[in-house]
Symmetry: C2
């Protein structure tokens, strides 16, 4: 399929937008009128610029408040349209988007609307241009695609067709099924937008909160499948009004835009294949064969975190080693060729990288002691990387010494590496092979940590949608509920993503406040920082007792927390006393319990969480995060 | 009246919140449970801290999901309540807020609800505590104050009363009239919140977008008048859930909070006086006499901008003087005792302050060349300052030389000075008296500038509500419509405020993007910067011709703008050609036209606008701002 995006979807000057759109390998653009109105060049210059970048101008938009007007207004509107036709010819833009009238002056008489659109199409035809009519969800008389289609049908002009926009249909809860019955050649253009489900005025929703497919909650798969079954074979385009995208560096937005279309295409390809297999009416097969929908390698089965790699210098390496030792990790080996040490406990591998002149060192210099790479176990590591690259991630190949394993990696949004590690399951040790066993360590039972439960990232607000899409498209993870936590200096939003088997969980935290710790860590790291790593254990009381005895510093929890817990949940006096004594936090869902505790921050950069899941508890104890945040703020207050 | 605020209304740790609340001279607090749960001290310690600060703990809140539950839940709820009673006794908090049940388990049987609340009140009575029952706008069965009152009436217990919250009533569009019929002594507590009118889910609205009285669009005057006529004489409290306040320095928020209550009290005082004069039922008079409502000096009649003062060093002074000269200003005088020069044209006075070791110099060192003070002409300058001080502004008295006029000033939010200048109207020259006429200037007709049309401020997002309230309370200005403008790097919101006579107009621009020029200028100035000054003229074509001939640099406007203008509005070929030639922008409302042009930025800090209003046009041409913003971004792009 041809892929296109509206210029309004990205930030920057029009020139910068086009460069970013071309760099993400789009075929064309929708030109949003205000972008052209303030452009400091002529239509011919813009057409030449787009051509040089390999982009066509597929659509000029919008012409507002046109159809169904009193005669005097209509005469003025035709003059206005002729000026836009002049412009479109100079631009080489073949199609004009006319959105349904919102003016209180419009009369809402379908016959009049059809006649006026017919006249517009007739004038367009003289210049070999086309008119696409679109139902705005807040149009005064026409809100739904069926209403718009009825007018297009009645007008019956070869240069007049329908434009569909998933937002306008799905935001009204309208059923896209009937799209499949519209003749494909009468659908002139297709705009795909996703959005979070919000209970708000649809105009505000539309102007501020649309997002790319895969970042929201709309069922775009069904929508697009219906359009393709109708026979549509034109461009797949993105018209996204989003406050955050207006502020986000446009190269990243353009990458997200392309990634979102590729993911959607691959989903719809599978959907149409299923529909073709289930029915024999032939339209699903025909739809799938008509357009070459994108088909990336599938996500392989994931096996959780294979390792986490920390960028440090020698001083930080020593301090971190001491903390890990107190937490029950053993120094399991030294890297064959680098200043890299492996620490282990249970199935947890922590790689401490102090190698000068390395990727890790560059991250350390920029961001201080921090997680610079994660390893994800995958049944087929090469396929995982190939999928990521097909979905617009950059591959990373670092230097590799003799006898070292190939460990393919990609660059995640924000710059950290994601390695895919071959082999999933017990007994497989793809990490250890690169390391020489340490001779000064003895086997140790550790403190009872089993595996990495989750990794929490602090994201700047503009990175959240990027990461939701990256984790969904590249890693096949699905988002859970979005929660709000109160930090003393602003709200923090928290969203977990996980694979179906819950082997790989990532939590995204973001804050629009500039003063929360989440915002501070995200901004110190250029937008993405590992804030904490949660280790799972089976007996948190024993684990924390042992760690406390070894001197691991934990965030102190107010006694009032336990009084309140006692009022809320009947845990029994003894159990409550134990939690209170050890500073362990408690959460309960309908499915199970979550016990957890946070270590003090390491060098102000990250911390660890110890967690125990009981039963089917599937969240992250987010309601307890304010206890930690307030505790840290109060410690800072005392310190300052 | 006693004045109180909920701890959730401010940012910071609980200790910091209390300090800020006390500094703003509140009498008491509502303690929001999560603030206490994470507090690192005991209830007794908190009570002592509040006592040391002169604050009482007036309310503990909330106890949720209590009334109308099945028996087993009710038994658990009573145990939970007893634990909170223990706590309230230790805190010395007399009243507990029970908000209407939102649980799907609640049964919605009014008799059961009344009986359960009665039992709770009975237990509270044993400890000499009181229960206040409040209707949440999103309660499951009880949403409106009349429903809550019916249950309180039925329960009929002296320790059970009603809590009213303006948000919950006005967000539902409910009529507050019936409040006046509730016995005053059964209203246990009163929470005042304002909000912008938003078409969104009421829970989201309530949790994120409440604001202080005078910052939103609710009719709080009527609401409070009704409550006072009912006989209420308890605290006037603020429970404001607002995302921005959570991020705003809490000292400023506390000042805003107090200012909002004082303004509201003064409005309601006048309202009750009017009502008492108009009717003889006595309740209005009684209400007004029962509580001592705040009564500040009235806003005097304003006479526009008396002067604008720029903080500069010698280099900037020279460059600015050259620009002003090209714009047709004359150097009208030197200050009697300071390195300060006065430039004049029409009724415009611009003061260029290069005095070392002055307030202006301190502003210059921090923020570069910038407006550091404005003078506002007022019929009674001393009264204007007294009102400002009564409404929590700090008075500023600078050093004054012999023969210089007293010019009382206050510090506006963000730190610039606002002087009030005695005398309003033609022929009055309170500024000139401080200056020795320059002997090297000859009278000049200038370029046709008449007066200052408006001043536009760039505000950080957390300053907007502060400035809305400041301009309303201190200056008596009223806000117009809020608009959104597209900057290439994010949205900018623009809101104008003005006095009734339109002599004093201020425009606030704010952006949540960190990359727009508005955000950059606001953040460079610590949150508040004069972005531009608009001068009015009667013949913009002649004025701009003259200025262009004198070399004044203007922001270039794309030719596409004029093509689009021609398609939208029929101005006539000749007029359009003139606008195009001179780069003048055009806007039209139902009431008139607005012609305007922007100068290039001075030192990257501020710029000037030349405007001509035709007819009753009452806005600021905001729809043309994107043309300027895009032009500047494209200039920067070429430069970079």
């Amino acid at each position: 399929m041809r892929r296109s995006t509206a210029t309004v979807s990205l930030s920057g000057t029009l020139r910068q937008k086009l460069q970013a759109i071309a760099a993400a390998r789009f075929d064309g653009i929708e030109l949003f009128e205000p972008d052209f109105v303030s452009f400091d060049g002529s239509a011919a210059e813009l057409a030449a610029m787009a051509g040089d970048l390999g982009l066509t101008i597929d659509l000029y938009q919008p012409l507002r408040d046109f159809e169904g007007m009193p005669d005097a207004d209509h005469a003025r509107n035709l003059k206005r349209a002729e000026r836009k036709f002049d412009l479109m010819q100079a631009l080489g833009a073949p199609t004009l988007l006319v959105c349904s009238n919102t003016s209180p002056r419009s009369l809402g008489d379908a016959e009049r609307s059809a006649a006026q659109l017919h006249e517009l199409a007739e004038r367009a035809a003289r210049r070999n241009l086309r008119i696409g009519y679109e139902a705005l969800a807040w149009g005064r008389h026409v809100k739904r695609y069926r209403e718009a289609w009825a007018i297009v049908e009645r007008a019956d002009h070869p240069h007049l067709g329908l434009i569909l926009d998933s937002f306008h249909t799905l935001s009204l809860g309208d059923d896209p099924s009937a799209i499949a019955t519209i003749p494909g050649e009468k659908i002139f253009f297709l705009q795909m937008a996703d959005a979070p489900i919000l209970a708000m005025d649809v105009l505000q929703w539309a102007r501020h909160h649309r997002c790319f497919p895969g970042q929201g909650q709309f069922d775009l798969e069904t929508f697009l499948a219906r359009v393709l079954r109708a026979g549509y074979a034109g461009p797949l385009s993105l018209e996204i009004f989003n406050d955050v995208f207006r502020e986000t560096p446009n190269r990243r937005t353009a990458t997200d835009a392309m990634r979102s279309l590729l993911l959607l295409e691959s989903q719809v390809r599978q959907r149409l294949a299923r529909e073709a297999a289930e029915s024999d009416d032939g339209t699903a097969r025909a739809a799938s064969e008509r357009v070459a929908l994108f088909d990336p390698p599938a996500v392989p089965r994931l096996g959780g975190y294979a390792f986490l790699e920390f960028a440090v210098d020698d001083t930080a390496a020593e301090a971190l080693a001491a903390l890990l030792h107190a937490m029950g990790f053993v120094r399991a080996g030294r890297h064959r060729s680098k200043a890299v040490t492996l620490y282990r406990q249970g199935a947890i591998n922590l790689v401490i990288n102090a190698e000068p002149d390395s990727f890790a060192r560059r991250r350390f210099v920029e961001h201080g002691p921090s997680v610079c790479a994660i390893g994800i176990a995958a049944a087929d590591a090469e396929r995982a990387v190939n999928r990521a690259v097909a979905l617009q991630s950059a591959r990373f190949d670092g230097p590799r010494g003799a006898r070292e394993l190939a460990m393919p990696a990609i660059v995640s949004p924000g710059g950290n590496l994601v390695h895919f590690v071959a082999g999933v399951g017990p007994g497989v040790d793809p990490i250890g092979a690169d390391f020489v066993a340490a001779d000064n360590t003895t086997p140790d039972d550790g403190s009872g940590l089993c595996h990495v439960d989750h990794v929490a990232l602090g994201l700047s607000p503009d990175q959240l949608d990027t990461w939701v899409l990256f984790s969904r498209a590249v890693l096949g993870l699905e988002p859970g509920d979005s929660l709000e936590l109160a930090d003393p200096f602003g709200l923090v939003r928290s969203l977990g993503v996980a694979d179906r088997g819950r082997s790989l969980r990532i939590v995204f935290n973001t804050s629009s406040s500039r003063a929360t710790r989440t915002a501070l860590s995200a901004s110190a790291s250029g937008g993405v920082a590992v804030q904490h790593i949660a280790f799972a254990c089976d007996d948190i009381v024993a684990t924390v007792r042992q760690m406390r005895a070894a001197g691991v510093p934990f965030v102190p929890i107010s006694a009032n927390y336990y009084d309140d817990l006692a009022a809320r949940i009947d845990l029994g006096a003894e159990r409550l006393a134990t939690l209170r004594e050890l500073g362990i936090l408690f959460d309960r869902s309908a499915d199970g319990d979550y016990l957890h505790i946070y270590t003090a921050s390491f060098a102000g950069r990250f911390f660890f969480e110890i967690v125990q899941r009981v039963g089917g508890y599937d969240a992250y104890g987010a309601l307890n995060a304010p206890a930690r945040l307030a505790s840290e703020a109060q410690a800072a207050e005392r310190g300052g």
